[in-house]
Symmetry: C2
Subunit: 299 residues, 2 copies
Amino acid sequence: MLILSTEKLPDECKRLLPNARDQFNEDDVPKADILMLWPLQAKVFLPKAKSVKAVQTFSAGVDDFPFSLLPKGVDVFSNAGAYSVSVAEHAFALIMTLAKGIGKRDRTFRPYPLTGVNLMVLGGGGIGSEVARIGKMGFNMYVIGVSRSFKRPELFDEKHNISELKDIIGKADIIVDTLPLTKLTDGILNYDMLSRVKENAIIVNVGRGETVVEEDVYRLLKERKDVRFGTDVFWRKNGVEDFNSKLWELDNFTGTPHTGGAYGNDVVKTNAIIEACKNVYNYITSGKAENKVRIEDYL
Amino acid sequence: MLILSTEKLPDECKRLLPNARDQFNEDDVPKADILMLWPLQAKVFLPKAKSVKAVQTFSAGVDDFPFSLLPKGVDVFSNAGAYSVSVAEHAFALIMTLAKGIGKRDRTFRPYPLTGVNLMVLGGGGIGSEVARIGKMGFNMYVIGVSRSFKRPELFDEKHNISELKDIIGKADIIVDTLPLTKLTDGILNYDMLSRVKENAIIVNVGRGETVVEEDVYRLLKERKDVRFGTDVFWRKNGVEDFNSKLWELDNFTGTPHTGGAYGNDVVKTNAIIEACKNVYNYITSGKAENKVRIEDYL
């Protein structure tokens, strides 16, 4: 059983996976049973990986993965959940900056209360669950979950399917988008959807830029000064996330250049790699790994 | 029993205190048993209030109260705790903006984790307790309290007296100052104290500006780029809080112009007035009101 990793593996990984190699050359790829890599790297490795049975990504999102190159029967496992705590903290930082007007020097801004308001979380996975937990435990929020499935259903006061979003989005004081980018979620927050939000709503995106339509949220923020939008994720131009959005011109916008996950934080990154290794270990020993990607969501 | 209030009293106050009047003229003041007012208004009313037995302030802080004009034996009750939830939310908004670099467009800023870090809370009253609660429940922080007394001691993992601050301030990743301004706390965060903080420490002030020495925190932030400071409270020049501080020039500073309490929020303000009325009701009916000011702390 040969496992190849494009990231240097910490000691805990080497204990779990004694057959894993983080130094290898091109000739090793055809013999590999399992590949551990970042989604875009699969473009290079998949065509050569003649014996591959499973792929484990280091990233939580797999929307960049070249699923069309994947041989039939090969499973892909994402690293969903590995960055949940830092991304959920980041989502709350965006919410609170917008709610309280932090950094605004003049006294024209009036802060909005957080305690007890309606928090709507799009996506019930690792990040969405941690956002729900902080909202409930930290600020006694009423938490409305909108997702296909819920990792921790007990954290949500209401649970809805994503198909109901149009009818319930107007109930939320705060909306946090933690959605992966799939065929279903691409552009789900378009003008028709966004224009239904409540007065003074705060919308935050820590999922993927493209789940929100950039032109549409810009239009909404221009038309409705009461609505505020914050994002850590931006829209890709030619495959590369472009942090230069015209949203930055607007007073009711704030953001960060995709620094909410492991960016610049070695502890978060190392822990995420260890999570990936644990998942591969479970796959090998029991056949039961988490975060198996539903390839039909992407192709 | 005549009660005079300088703020319009909501219906709940009128039920609790049928003898309270929020419309009165100068001739009524000498007959008043209890005055409900903002601290600075006491300058006008106290000299005329010949029958006054107690004064209830609408504000939590009483550092602006003219204690030298207070006849012997007259009690002053503050409204400590009435703004706790919104001010504690505000403190966390300042912390999170600084920890996550919200609004910084370039990728040079690396976010800091919040979960599980050491949170030091200066002041164990209403605001300090709510800050401790959010830290513990929302972010699993280890909470170190520094105060003369603790309203909710169960929320603190460690409790220290303010006299120990110099020896323990270096343990904190995050320091939240919720202190009232008294003889004891005036300038307590001076250069000698501030220079002892841990690498990458975040310091936030929602107490009173003057508990921090403006020149000293400016010097510290210039010398140590790793330390970050956020404040909602500024330093008074000629008795008026001046939001034009040179701290705004600095990249490792953020603030808000004292908007953390009831500013622009009628619900918070009305609730604070009701809290004051409840306290007066308790004083009248049982003699036991909360937040009795220790006048010797100020004179």
